[in-house]
Symmetry: C2
DNA sequence: ATGAAAGCGCTAACAA
DNA sequence: TTGTTAGCGCTTTCAT
């Protein structure tokens, strides 16, 4: 518990040099089994724990992995972080979290902090558009991007466009002809892709598109409610909504219910708690954020051993959780 | 960006000693303004960033703050962590997250990791019952406990008993005479306190207590569904439920709806997403996890300067979010 | 296969 | 007020 014991104490106790202890610690195979045994015994006896600081100072890289996301209290990202942590613990690495609030400046600041901490690697949900900064950053620290891809970097993302098309297709198949898209923020690639998928589905179903049904809603802030009421007061209001932003989805659902418009069908990109409990139940594109985190971490580990490997853009498949029938089992709806 | 510049480079550029640079860095006031200026200029010019590793090695303490909680993907804790992070960023500290999964061994392991990292302080939601370990730990690292108190340690918690009483009182006032308590796990202090508050409210309303209405549900795992169906199949089933565990609350709500029993009134300890959107809407005891995190951090900062100050048990007030009327505005219910 | 010595970047003592 | 020296705990030459 004291943590005062240093490598030299272990060396003394095992009557070897500090270097031999170091070798044992790092699993160097060219150590005499007898000595190794002595060292291991001394380590246990003294309750020795190596100092990450000293190691980091010497080697230039430590046992910290950074996870930089929009916000850790966003369920999508908190699950993702949890997935990362589960993996990290297996590799004996610690997870430093940092949120960007979708602010490029803050993102930069957080990344630089991690750089000064000599983080061993970074998992990042990129907010800024400044790719050149990331490219340069990448040259000193392995980076794997999640949720949103950046060309030239490793990434783990989902196929936003196709998944969205599939989701909207369900609404069209249910007979809806006026389908709104709520949560479109052109600032984000994902958002733009989801809009494309939405348009694909409309075209596929032979429905005409209508700009009025796709209001722009800033990702941050709570303009969703406004956009929703605007949508509903159109002369030809939508009968169904595609919620393209998992973060805002619960707010929209709540607002829809508060307005007493439970008749409006909704499908969401990204699952969320109680999506199956509201009436009517809400079908979702399931992104599996936890798995996304785990995959990103695995890729990061590969980059540790092979930092110059050619960037991989891993596309995860999504699965559509259809809750169309669910509404009939309740007493409501 | 290179991060290769060390203090000696700055010293050379400013034509002072490294110690003077160090003084400027640490805001020591006894530095000649002229020299200070020169140093600051050099720092900017060289884009110098101090090495936390070296500093930590030398001083024995670094810029890392640990947050050890049950699970970071639990909305309560992810909000709490977010509150901590917001504060930490202001103090130039980094946040390391670690989850315990309510496992005492894992908690211990995570705490020891943070110890070896020489974390400057730890915010902990204690899972283990081994207080003596924590007391000893405390002697080397400042610790502030959240959600659950440990005697002898600083803590930020809510008044579980009184808050629960208030919540259950609302159910009694609505005319319910058979009120169940779901989510009781005697392993946790909070859980026991909430049960007490529940009993207080029953007594206050002159309702008889019934052990059958308070099934024990292990905190981890998903025995809630089973407990729920057991409750509902009693000869005298409850007409209302007090959900004492925010984590399981959404699952219970979903199950209740899946069973088509939207007629059952529910009140939850801890607010959750869409509690206002389900029908009937669910009133909640609001714990303000984000504020809890911020307060814990503030206390931690005090402990940095005064590590031997007498432990404070900060009790946060909760506010009851009454959504009783909400159910009438929807088309359902 | 093992060890001695140097040094990573910083700050605590001490000296000037 | 400022600088010099030493050393935090580890790993990396380089010698043995």
């Amino acid at each position: 518990m004291k943590g005062q014991v240093a490598i030299k104490d272990v060396a003394a106790a095992a009557r070897v040099s500090t270097k031999t202890v170091s070798r044992v610690l790092n699993g160097v195979s060219t150590v005499d089994p007898t000595l190794r045994r002595r060292v291991e015994k001394a380590i246990v006896a003294l309750d020795y724990v190596p100092s990450p600081a000293a190691r980091s100072l010497r080697t230039g890289t430590g046992s910290l992995v950074g996870v930089v996301v929009d916000a850790i209290d966003d369920p999508f990202f908190s699950e993702l972080v949890s997935g990362v942590e589960d993996m990290a613990i297996e590799f004996g690495l610690d997870v430093v979290v940092a949120s960007t609030r979708c602010d490029a400046r803050r993102e930069r600041q957080q990344l630089l902090r991690l750089l000064s901490q000599r983080a061993k690697g970074v998992i990042l949900a990129p907010a800024g558009e400044d790719d050149s900064f990331l490219q340069e950053y990448r040259s000193s620290t392995p980076v794997v991007t999640v949720d949103r891809a950046v060309t030239g970097l490793d990434s783990v993302t989902v196929d936003d466009r196709t998944s969205s098309q599939e989701a909207v297709r369900h609404l069209a198949a249910a007979g809806h002809r006026r389908i709104g898209l709520l949560g479109y923020d052109p600032l984000f690639v994902t958002s733009r892709r989801r809009r494309e998928g939405y348009l694909d589905a409309l075209q596929e179903a032979g429905l005409r598109t209508d700009e009025l049904l796709v209001p722009e809603v800033p990702f941050a802030g709570n303009g969703v409610q406004l956009a929703l009421t605007a949508l509903l007061s159109l002369s030809e209001p939508p009968t169904a909504l595609f919620l393209a932003n998992a973060r805002q989805a619960p707010a929209v659902v709540a607002a829809v219910h508060a307005l007493g418009r439970g008749d409006i069908a909704m499908v969401s990109f990204g699952d969320f708690s109680l999506a199956d409990a509201v009436r009517p139940a809400i079908s979702c594109v399931n992104q599996e954020p936890r798995l996304m985190g785990a995959l990103a971490f695995q890729r990061l580990v590969q980059l540790f051993t092979d930092p110059r490997s050619v960037p991989e853009e891993h596309l995860m498949t999504t699965n559509f959780v259809n809750r169309t029938g669910v509404e009939h089992s309740g007493v409501n709806g």
